[in-house]
């Protein structure tokens, strides 16, 4: 069964550093998403991406965040200057249309 692949599985970074989280969505999917889950809390929507542009973004997705689909297969989330409160599990998801989506296994980001 096709999977959404995320790398790295765990990233530790110092406060103020830039991080890039990588995702390879399922190849025939059209909609791509980033979500985050702070430990023990609910999953929060960050941003959706369709037709090579941001479709929707939440209040969490401020100027520190950006997304790219640089080469037609990868989908990246960049955090420019990490803060302690950015520590969370970040999930990428994709779906072919407005139906069931597939989540990746996540990247655990720890900001120290």
């Amino acid at each position: 069964e096709p999977e959404v692949t995320q790398t790295p599985s765990h990233q530790v970074t110092q406060m103020g550093q830039e991080v890039i989280l990588r995702c390879v969505p399922i190849s025939n999917h059209l909609y791509f998403y980033w979500y985050r889950q702070i430990l023990g809390q609910k999953v929060e929507f960050l941003v959706s991406f369709y037709n090579n542009e941001i479709s929707e973004k939440s209040e969490i997705f401020d100027d520190q965040f950006s997304v790219e689909r640089p080469d037609g297969s990868n989908f990246t989330l960049k955090i420019r200057s990490t803060k302690l409160e950015d520590s969370a599990m970040y999930f990428c998801a994709s779906r072919p249309g407005p139906t069931r989506g597939t989540f990746g296994s996540g990247t655990r980001l720890t900001v120290v």
Partner: protein, 115 residues
Amino acid sequence: ELKVEQNPLFLSMQEGKNYTIYCNYSTTSDRLYWYRQDPGKSLESLFVLLSNGAVKQEGRLMASLDTKARLSTLHITAAVHDLSATYFCAVDIGSSRGGADGLTFGKGTHLIIQP
């Protein structure tokens, strides 16, 4: 702002018992999702409910959707230990705005099933 509320948030039950998890949401939507999450793992899609009155069943789990009441239920029949996990409902933001965008999740129901 779309709000999704689940209850209970924590449930401990014995094997063999039945129980229902409730998911209420605040604005019009006709797409509701249920996910399972094991500790430290990703989200596994369980059900997608796409219309009023939709009912889906898989194994000991059955989900239903009442769009008029803005309520979905996840019913567990004759629970077994392997069903211990956190269950999330999520509503499609886009369906309240006419597009297919991100999901708004409930806080999750942490389910423990004891032998």
